[in-house]
Amino acid sequence: MFGINNRRDFLGRNALAPMALASLLADGAHSGASTGVWVPPDGRPHAAPKAKSVIWLFMNGGVSHLETFDPKPELDKYAGKTIAATPHKDVQNPEKLKLARVTVVNDANGQQRNVLFGTQTKFQPRGKSGIPVSDFLPHMGAMVDEMAIVRSMVTTDDNHGAQTQFHSGRHMLDGEFPTLGAWVHYGLGSLNANLPQFISMGTREYWNRKDGHYLGPAHDAVPLRVDPANPLDYGKPEMASIDTDRSFRLANRLNRLRQEAEPTDPVLDARLKSYELAYRMQRALPEAIDFSKETQQTQQMYGLDRPVTRDFGMQLLASRRLVERGVRFIQIQHGGGGAGAWDAHGDLRGNHTANCAKVDLPIAGLLADLKRRGLLDQTLVVFATEFGRTPGTQGSNGRDHHIFGFSVAMAGGGVKGGVVHGATDAVGFHAVEDRHYVTDVHATILHLMGLDSRRLELPERKRLEIDHGNVIRPILA
């Protein structure tokens, strides 16, 4: 795909044939050293990459860290007590709460919740590493030796705009900025001439529907439906009155004649390539998401045989097939509708029991499947969410939005397995060790993909230090 907002960009990217890149990658060749003069990305990584592809699993609404990856016995000890009445009262020290940037001042949600709420599930040590993972996630727990769990995430938007923030690094009030997937797409060339390189699945919430923003719509994810009969918009003829396949072929031949007459027109060349890609894409995509050749055992690993896991499992199985075929970045949003299905302001136990049951088995299946096929080393799987949930109770049995400390997990693609990094305090309120803002996750992923965000940024769009983030080095393999 070619963004030609500026000619240099266009010429630069067009110069590199997609298939040539695969061999470049294999050789470990990378883009030349920084010269101080900005040049548009040429599709090659800036450094030798560890990961080839990313599967970005985003749980909309805010997963409770306290019921998944971050056990807090003190919560049970003081359950029902106000925080101020416990030895941990300093967590609500106003100085420590200044991190929050409030979007909606009188919002019913995103407030301090003062009465501690006991953990709504139990934790068990899992795997050889013995890392505790909650009973809500038994299958992911069994794969914990593949995972690096970061328990010290923080963000600043106490509203669900934090979903956008987790993707772009910027608060809802700051405007619209490219998402991580768009940066990867902008920075890296294609690994498969037949498929779009940046794909999204699942329901995207209204504040988070686009990716490219100032990088241009060419860097938006292509929305994909896991339906071989109708995988994407305009993927098949909307009217039968014309033999569109035939017109497609004729158009291509006419455009080729045009190119023979004017071989030096670079745009024409790009258009032909894009038509050819379109033609191949509409054929390749249904095949890529056709599971008929997957064994029953594989399908069961992803939970395709169970109604509760089937939808998400299909997206994950499709992801593995797309990764196998060289797709760079697959972004899956789980839990559409409203602010996100995980938004357990009430009945946290019921909510997380139900939602975890939908994703736990498929994610574990994905990791196991990638591993047995030797793909996990080059595929980075990320389990993320916009924020955690309050240690205090909201209503009688819910938890509110919590930005001061929460967890994400990563696996494969150059990340250590079976490690925990960072920590929250005794009640899971503040990240206190190795705190990481969301762009640290971006920096880590870009680093593993061999990209340097400072060399990607556009000269007219100077980014801030915090936009670039810092690589979370201790979890690198």
């Binding site: 994407l232 009217m239 017109s247 894409m281 602010a339 938004d343 009945d347 007219e460």
Partner: protein, 1050 residues
Amino acid sequence: MPPIALALLALLPGVDYLTEVKPLMATRCVACHGALQQKGGLRLDTVARMRIGGDSGPAIVAGKPSESPLWQRVAGHGAGRRMPPKGEGEDVNLAEQMRLSEWIAAGAPAPSKETEDPDPRDHWAFRKPKRATPAEATANPIDAWIAKRWKEQGLVPRPQADRLTLLRRLYLDLTGLPPSMTDIERFLADNAPDATSREVEKLLASPAHAERWARHFMDIWRYSDWWGLGAEVRNSQKNIWHWRDWIIESVEKNVPYDEMVRQMLAADELYPSDASKLRATGFLARQYFLFNRTTWMDETVEHTSKAFLGLTANCAKCHDHKYDPIRADDYYRLRAVFEPYQVRYDVPSGTTDPMAGFPRVFDCNLNAVTHKHIRGDESRPDTRRAMDAGPPVFLNFAKVEGKPVALPAEAHAPETRADVLEAYLKEAEVALVAARKVASEAEAQVAHSRKQPSATSSEAAKPLLVEPFDNLDSARWKPMGAGMWKPLGQALAQTAKIDGRAWLRLANPIPADFEAVLRFRITGGEPYRSVGISFDAAEGRDTMVYMSANTGEPKLQIAWQRNGQYVYPNETKQQRAVPLNTPIELKIRVAGKSVEALVDGKPGASATLPDRQAGALELVTFTATAEFDHFEIRPLPVGYSPAGKSSGRMTLAQAEANQKWAHAEVAAREAEPATLQARFQARLQEVKGTAAQAQSAAREASRLESLLAVIKARAALAKASRDVAVDGDSKKPAVDAAVKALAAAEKASASPGVGYTRLVASSKSPESNMEKPESRAKPFPATSTGRRSALAQWITHKDNPLAARVIVNHIWNRHFGQPLVPTVFDYGRKGTPPTHPELLDTLAVELMEHGWDLRYLHRLIVTSRAYQLDSSTLQPVEQQKDPENKSLWRFPSRRLESQVVRDALLVLANKLDTTRGGASIPVNDEASRRRSLYFVHSHNDHNRFLAQFDDAGVQECYRRSESIVPQQSLALIHGKLASETSETVRQLLDPAGTVPRDVFIRSAFKLMLARSPSPVELDLCNSELAEDNSRARAGLVLALVNHHDFITVR
């Protein structure tokens, strides 16, 4: 320095100042210590300056890095503050520190002739444009400067484009629509020498031109329809399309550019009584943001600067600009210009509903203070100092000061407009006529009942269904949606906090006419917290009667859904308090198409439905948690008649009670006009009259209003008595309340005073989600600060170096597909200098000298030789010397913008609906054939087809992206629009199926691509049509829709 670093130093080769030290200074130090600013008296842009140093002595001591303040500061050694300061730039890393140290150690060698950075105020864009004299003059001044570049670079330009290519280029460029076959034939037959210029004039004068170029301005001025969450307006404003229509009309009338800018920024100060011009302030209304005034102001400052001045003032929000002489103070001075403004809607002539009008701005908070935010942090305002309002100080070509502007009454008190009173009186008249009609029906009813006294009394009908909700009876109710239903013993709770609907569907059918009572409490949720009864529910349709405990607009509403779309009429709504956690009784009565809703026994809202179709009954929550206490369904009360209409089944007592109420209503309506007149007069005298006149008018208004209140209280009592007669004694409490209310009204009318209610002629948009009703209702100031008109005068001042250059560049970019200044919104020192500086300046001067006449500029550009060149790349020498065509040796071909792709398909198929203006079309209205600029354009809504072709960004779009992605091909090959167009074009070219194949192919090429097929193309198409039929011919046209030459302006 640590020993290990020193050891490493020895291994490094000599440091090159120019490639290693100077760039480091330039990126980290020079913004504060250079030509732009000399903090501490220090400049670091040359070695000589470093040696001289600043207030605290030399910055470097040659040979001694550890004694050099420069190195100490960047390395964080010594007592001084580490540089660059936090928040002002990245730390100098260890490797850079070592290189710097080594360079100093080596004696800080300097190049022999190092020049200092020039004064930023002398930057080309900050100096007035001047017309230069070309060495070789040409008829069109553009061509002299273009030819100069050719000559300098030894380039030979392409020849003139052929006539048909040029015609298509002109049509697409000037109107956004390709020429029809008639246009083509007519032009090709016209061999007069002025044929092209006549065509240009015709196109410039066409309505299509106004729509085409309006869309360009909508890009630059970031047009957006409103968006938010659900019905809550969070960004931009409702009815903002009036601004879009103003843009179209302004282009059509060729309003001078400077005047357009002035109207957009300050029509409310410059033309306070001119509704047509006030629409222009949509530019500022669009910046609206509900949640955060700083974000709102930031966008206003940023985009006013970028759009009109090509300045990135936004970079000076947190600190002084790093490249341009814009101080952070300047940023907040610009903000101060806009600080007082807010948005409101005034009633348009002939209505009393402000929301039927358009959003316009006005200075609302004259004393609003702007404080600088320390490091751009809004939680840290520098309250020691109030910022004054004005443009950036360094652009001091003219002093324009904002002087307060006195506003006419109709502008600050629209309720004093004569047409507003007229509309109110007309409305009162209509209501009176209706009331009289009801009264005469009621009289007829009495007569009827006298003749045929009904046997039945007013006994309450027996319930058809009673649901005490002591558990969830799954045989009776089917839970739907994502709700969680929990029986509480005496009530049933919906506990899931979901963003959507959760409801119970009744399994049993119910009669078409019925009464239903629901007792419930709303316990939480966000944001609407709606609970109510839905009936006639089926896929995509139902009628809902519900209560919303929404913080923004609590209400009782009757709404209905048809084909999946809800309508929420204002007339079927009652704004009222809806308390949380409080028992509410909602009763609905459905009789035919009539629906009445009563809350706690009091009439709330009523509606007449457009139609009815049987469906299910449902109890609904929408983004609400709730507890249902009780529900029952009964037949309508005997003799029930909706809204006073006679049902023919009333008892005499009922009919008389009903008649009494109807007469009381007539009396109230009769008293209305005089009261309206008095209220109007009172406000008019308050605004325009003497104090004595004002007081006496207020007294009269107060008197009439209090009398009307008595008459209305009597009507309310009559209504309550009638309800008792019809519904039975359960309505007694309402009578008691009405009696008390009447007594109170009578008491008040005995001593009326001077208080009265103004007519409502405006609706102010909430200043924030926190604004209280009293603040929303505060009167509008009678003066405006004049700050915005001063800024507008300053921007459009003839000595402003930026404004003309910026718009000329935008116009040029849209004609040629490439701008003269590539950084179209940054003319500062970080921007890219113009490819043709003299040309840019000449056009800027030309534009200003011709009264900012944009049509003059269009004409000048499209009649230049440069514009009329062929676009082929087939010149190897030029292609090699200037592959990016910066010198314009050929016309730069470009892809059609998204709107043009769709509009072109429609117009070629002869299906374009040329209806102009009006409300934006929903994005999913695929049946609409109107021009694409009329679709809703917002952050939330994207038309599926337009989105494939780089539709304008909503946040900003100073320049369209031009991507080539496979989805575009798929949309053009598979999309319905492309297929339909191809079939219609086939019919147009070959209506009877008799046109010879060869001729058909040639015509199709001519119409779709504006050229003839080459022999080999002809052969290919002929062989494609070997099996020749209409389907194959349409297929050929579709292939041409997908031809590079179709989607390209050549």
